[in-house]
């Protein structure tokens, strides 16, 4: 084997690795984002008893579950499967930590932590995920969420305004994700 062959082989294996990663990464993304943004939105209300909060208690997990089933089926049809364990662990971890951060803020009457905490935890979780998956899109979402969290605290936004901002980001994220998954589907077909 000469140097050019070695270089070519390494470049090819890197291409194959990246292609596999790209084809696997999109379906789980929606699961993590939907679940954690739901909890971030939920934690912006001071108790899980209001109609909106109760709606998200059920809608969040149900939506995440539906996306998980879709991701599993899509994985099967695409011909490459990733282990769901790591992503389920990350999702559950972000959910628990974000919810706990919100509850601690309310329990100790620290409004800043109650509003900023969950979004900060989710943003940190996304950033770790972006690093693992080498995904610029997830990194961008992480920074956007951090920006929203800072705006909530910095401009001392009301609960309604905070929720509107998080839901706005939530909508934009899902749209971006929808386009990304559609682009990925076109590549596979």
């Amino acid at each position: 084997m000469n140097a050019d062959e070695a270089r070519e082989s390494l470049a090819f294996s890197e291409y194959a690795r990246k292609r596999a990663r790209d084809d696997m990464s999109r379906p789980w993304l929606a699961l993590v984002l939907l679940a954690s943004l739901s909890v971030v939105s939920l934690s912006l209300t001071d108790a899980a008893t209001s109609p909106t909060a109760l709606f998200w208690v059920f809608a969040g997990p149900l939506g995440a579950g539906a996306i998980a089933i879709y991701a599993y089926r899509r994985n099967q049809s695409s011909g490459i499967e990733s282990s769901p364990l790591a992503y389920v662990t990350i999702t559950v971890g972000i959910l628990i930590l974000a919810y706990t951060a919100g509850k601690i803020g309310f329990a100790f009457q620290i409004p800043g932590v109650a509003r900023f905490g969950p979004a900060f935890v989710a943003a940190a979780g996304y950033f770790a995920l972006a690093w693992i998956e080498r995904s610029w899109m997830v990194a961008a979402i992480s920074f956007a969420l951090l920006g929203v969290a800072l705006a909530i605290v910095g401009f001392d936004l009301s609960s309604q305004q905070s929720k509107a901002l998080v839901f706005g980001l939530y909508g934009i994220t899902l749209l971006a994700l929808g386009f990304s998954m559609r682009a990925g589907r076109k590549q596979l077909l």
């Binding site: 070519e8 294996s13 011909g79």
Partner: protein, 104 residues
């Protein structure tokens, strides 16, 4: 003293076989059609490479039926994973060595 290229594994340093292991090391399993599409090889060619890797214990092949269609799933073994890692490391070291030799 042995030549540095003697550390390369003949079974996997071939371009397609390295690609197969690279795809599989990123995933839980991949099917035959997916590998064929990503690596841009013919079915016969891919079958030959898979057989070589399976014989060396680097991959496992499972054939079955899904929706009344036959489907072949390929999984990398622990041995295959570590062989890929050491092959890539050896090739990088060789290229680094060539780079240093050319500079000096």
């Amino acid at each position: 003293m042995t030549h540095p290229t003697s550390a390369l594994d003949d079974t996997i340093h071939q371009r397609v076989r390295l690609g197969i292991l690279a795809v599989l090391s990123e995933s839980r399993r991949a099917d035959f059609t997916y590998l064929q599409e990503v690596l841009e090889v013919t079915p016969g060619n891919l079958s030959q490479h898979l057989a070589i890797l399976e014989e060396a214990g680097h991959i496992q092949i499972a054939k079955g039926f899904e929706d009344k269609r036959s489907r072949t799933w390929v999984t990398v073994t622990r041995k295959g994973r570590s062989a890929l890692a050491s092959e890539v490391a050896t090739m990088r070291a060789l290229l680094d060595g060539i780079g240093i030799g050319q500079r000096s």
